[in-house]
């Protein structure tokens, strides 16, 4: 419907207005810019980071588990490798798995929520009971059990499992939004015009919820990172030589980071990376919230 009324010129003007709005929101709180830069940094790190280092990583057997120094800013691990190099090269697995988790969470959650909320009736009942069941299964214990029978051989597999375990919350929230939106005038009008369900869902409902879904996706990334890092930290997953969770596990359980200070850098490396990634996502979500919800704008 809206497409029919828009000319090329007006849509270009809207895009310009949108980006200037984005810039205004960013400028108002520079911390949001920091978030965007950090996030871009993590994306760059995941995509190109490993290219900056050799395979295997350079190591010095005379420098095992050393504290931070000028040469190694966060020290070295128990194999004599630079901790920063490990964090950078280990980011690909963690971020890829988290991204897959987030995509599956959002796609599944949105699809089920939209369908359930829009169709209502029996489908809604069945899908929501399914969602309830999913929400009652505790994720971590299930993952612990799964890890004994399934060898998570790749980041994609890891993300797939985590994603399949975390769509419930998104589905419920999207359904609630759908139930609210479907009673609004513009949806009534679309129905009155005899537009197809696909059109109403795809062109009317989904764009209204897109910001909310995008924010959920970013938050799901942090959830994905925490889950997989936690599983590696607990040592329940097969050994992965380069992974933030594995680094935490090795730092604490093999190098004694909680007993001696020399391994503290080894512990701090992945912790800082997780902290910065979370910070980046929180700041970007904060900015998105204001960009997509004009009522929050202070001016």
């Amino acid at each position: 419907m809206s497409v029919l009324l828009e000319s090329t010129a007006t849509s270009a003007a809207m895009r310009r207005n949108f980006w200037s709005g984005v810039w205004r929101v960013m400028k108002r709180k520079p911390s949001r810019l920091v978030g965007v830069v950090l996030m871009a940094g993590f994306v760059f790190m995941g995509l190109f980071g490993p290219l900056f280092y050799g395979d295997p990583l350079p190591r010095d057997p005379s420098m095992l588990t050393r504290p931070p120094s000028w040469q190694h800013w966060l020290g070295t691990d128990d194999q004599g490798r630079d901790v920063i190099a490990l964090v950078v090269t280990g980011s690909r697995y963690v971020l890829l798995a988290a991204l897959v988790t987030a995509v599956i969470t959002v796609v599944l959650g949105t699809a089920i929520g939209l369908f359930s909320g829009f169709k209502r009736g029996r489908w809604d009942t069945v899908l929501m009971r399914l969602t309830d069941m999913k929400l009652t299964i505790p994720g971590l214990p299930l993952l612990l059990v799964l890890s004994t029978v399934w060898k998570f051989n790749s980041a994609v597999q890891m993300g797939l499992v985590l994603g399949l375990l975390s769509w419930g919350g998104v589905a419920r929230a999207v359904r609630a939004q759908t139930l609210s939106l479907r009673e609004r005038g513009f949806i009534e009008a679309a129905r009155g015009l005899g537009l197809s369900t696909t059109h109403i869902v795809g062109k009317e409902l989904l764009p209204s919820m897109a910001p909310y879904i995008a924010m959920n996706m970013l938050i799901a990334i942090t959830g994905g990172v925490y889950s997989q890092v936690g599983l590696f930290f607990l040592g329940v997953l097969p050994y992965e030589s380069n992974n933030w969770g594995q680094m935490l596990n090795t730092a604490v359980f093999r190098s004694g980071a909680l007993t001696v200070p020399s391994a503290l850098g080894f512990l701090l490396g992945p912790l800082l990376a997780i902290l910065l990634l979370t910070l980046a996502i929180v700041l970007v979500v904060d900015a998105m919230d204001e960009i997509f919800n004009p009522r929050l704008r202070e001016e």
Partner: protein, 606 residues
């Protein structure tokens, strides 16, 4: 995950607090400068189970060897003689010259903690229980080497056990004395009244014998589940109580050497991981702990704790990188030799086990210390497989491997990746494999480390031939047969069926190593290493010496496994509350600290 992290952190804090309060008790427990309370941990058992019974056969049983669990004798694990013991329930013993029997005389003053005397009937019942658990000397498998044929109660304090000489073993006496003894008046209900009849039937052939064996094994399950109403011990201590944080044992005043037992109480602290033990040790909370792997910095911190005293000795075990020779290219000895030259064992040991191991001088199949005793100067004539990249390249070329763009490939040009397996939680093995992986990749051999959930699964999968390369405990002494059966035993196809050695082809009957049945050893000629190993079972020390030499040469030349490091037995003790610890390199280090206490070595600090 966040919640879990918080719970883990809180639990950690709670444990630390519990540990702190434990430390306070330690100090108050002492009288004057010395200690009345002996605080320790059982390194073989992470996690105390408060609900487990004081049953020495129960996997989580609150029965602690040397403290409230006693054996007939304490095996010294002598470097070359498996039949040396410290007295325990048996005060003395006579072993027949041909190893055909052992007669044991019990301690004249031995009593159970409830005041009843320890008798030969207690020993007989305990031997009956040992049969249900398939213990070495009391195996019910037909034709098993070194199995007992008869148990005879000579008098109230004397018992004689005779060996089945159809398949004798020099370790027979060791198998008998290494038996746990429990009180018949508490345990007699676990064995059926016709048990000894059943045992006789089980030694025959046919369906009746098979049925009897099954029934005996079924009794074994009953034994595992048995819950004595309270702990009746013939050891220096009895179990008082257990909670998830600690197990408390009190001195047994009826113990035959109670006058020389210094501690009034023993406390076993609970732990779930090495880092918890490191914290106990750095805080000086433990009077004694068995070996715990620790990185160098942590070890230095432990050494700085007040009263910290480390005692090192020989540990009869080594670790090797074993090959599945059914898989290419490991069937080619030159590939195995090339890898032996390529891997810097000093570096591997430094990274993986800096305090708990010494890099193997070469691959002989034996720990370095017994190797010197058994083969002496011949040890130095073995190929040392020194780290030498050029030699490795020569060996790889001889094996027909190709080097393309700096990477080694198989002879047909297909990629070659050394996939090493290790069980999760074996941090020193994983660390070593990670180091080997880096060393190999740096020299053009692609490699990876793969872990499996736990050790039982690892053993199951390695035996099923699922791995190309895996770490393997070897040189498990001190008995010569035990040492070489790790390389030329069931895992390599040789089994002893009713006294006859049989070789199964690679991939069959647990043969995952897949060595050739005969090896042409330089300077020796063609030998069948499995048959030679089997001969060690009945050989005297003098007879064993030339066999050990031949097997060492075979292992060195054929490399079924690359010996990486020999373990070192490091015991942690603390002199703040107790003194009289064993000397460096003492054979007592291979026994639980409860044995040191019951022998009267450990004294309260004055």
């Amino acid at each position: 995950m966040k919640r879990l992290a918080a719970v883990v952190a809180l639990l950690g804090l709670a444990t630390a607090t519990a540990a702190c309060s434990g430390g306070t008790t330690d100090k108050s427990g002492g009288s004057g400068g010395g200690g009345g309370l002996f605080t320790t941990i059982d390194v073989n058992r992470p996690g105390l189970d408060a609900s487990a019974p004081a049953n020495p056969w129960h996997p989580k049983g609150n029965s602690f060897l040397g403290y409230n669990a006693m054996k007939l004798g304490w095996v010294k694990n002598h470097v070359t003689d498996p039949n040396q013991f410290y007295p325990a329930i048996a005060e003395k013993w006579e072993i027949a010259e041909d190893n055909s029997s052992i007669t044991m005389h019990l301690q004249p003053n031995a009593k159970w903690s409830d005041g009843k005397p320890v008798t030969a009937e207690d020993v007989k019942l305990s031997i009956g229980i040992a049969y249900t658990q398939g213990s070495t000397a009391f195996a019910i498998t037909p034709g098993a080497a070194g199995a007992a044929a008869d148990v005879e109660v000579v008098d109230d304090r004397t018992i004689k056990v005779t060996q089945d000489m159809s398949n004798p073993s020099s370790k027979f006496a060791r198998g008998v004395l290494d038996s746990i003894i429990v009180p018949a008046h508490v345990w007699n209900s676990v064995l059926p009244a016709d048990f000894w009849e059943k045992l006789k039937t089980s030694r025959g052939t046919g369906d009746g014998a098979e049925k009897a064996r099954e029934e005996i094994l079924a009794v074994g399950q009953k034994v595992l589940a048995f819950k004595p109403p309270n702990d009746v011990s013939a050891g220096p201590f009895t179990l008082e109580r257990v909670n998830p944080g600690e197990a408390l044992l009190l001195k047994n005043k009826n113990f035959f050497n109670a006058a020389n037992v210094a501690p009034d109480q023993v406390k076993f602290l609970n732990y779930s991981g090495n880092e918890q033990i490191w914290n106990y040790l750095t805080a000086g909370k433990l009077d004694q702990s068995g070996f715990v792997a620790a990185p160098t910095d942590v070890m230095n911190r432990i050494k700085q704790a007040p009263g910290s005293h480390l005692i090192k000795g020989f540990s009869p075990v080594a670790v090797g990188m074993a090959f599945n020779q059914s898989k290419k290219p490991y069937d080619n000895v030159h590939v195995r030799r090339g890898l032996a030259h390529l891997i810097d064992r000093q570096q591997v040991t430094k990274v993986a086990s800096p305090e708990g191991g010494t890099a193997a001088v070469t691959t002989s199949g034996m720990h370095q210390k017994p190797a010197q005793e058994w083969i002496g100067s011949e040890l130095s004539s073995l190929e040392p497989y020194a780290h030498d990249v050029a030699k490795a390249e020569t060996e790889f070329k001889e094996a027909g491997l190709q080097k393309k763009n700096g990477k080694w490939t198989l002879a047909d040009g297909s990629p070659w990746k050394v996939t090493m397996h290790a069980p999760s939680g074996f941090s020193d093995w994983i660390s070593a494999q990670e180091n080997i992986k880096s060393q190999l990749i740096e020299n053009g051999v692609d490699a990876e480390v793969v872990t499996v959930a736990d050790y039982p699964i690892y053993l199951e999968e390695i035996a099923a031939g699922k791995y190309d390369v895996g770490f393997w405990l070897m040189a498990l002494g001190p008995a010569p047969y035990d040492i070489y059966q790790r390389l030329y035993g069931a895992s390599n196809g040789w089994t002893n069926v009713a006294g006859k050695v049989k070789h199964s082809p690679a991939g069959k009957a647990g043969n995952w190593m897949g060595s050739s049945e005969e090896i042409d050893v330089e300077g020796v000629g063609k030998i069948n290493p499995g048959e030679l190993t089997e001969k060690l079972n009945a050989a005297s020390a003098e007879e064993a010496r030339p066999i050990m030499s031949q097997l060492a040469k075979a292992a060195n030349q054929d490399l079924p496994a690359i010996q990486l490091w020999d373990y070192v037995n490091t015991q942690f003790t603390n002199t703040s509350r107790f003194t009289g610890w064993p000397e460096q390199d003492s054979d007592l280090l291979r026994l639980p600290a409860g044995v040191w206490i019951q022998l009267g070595l450990v004294k309260k600090k004055q």
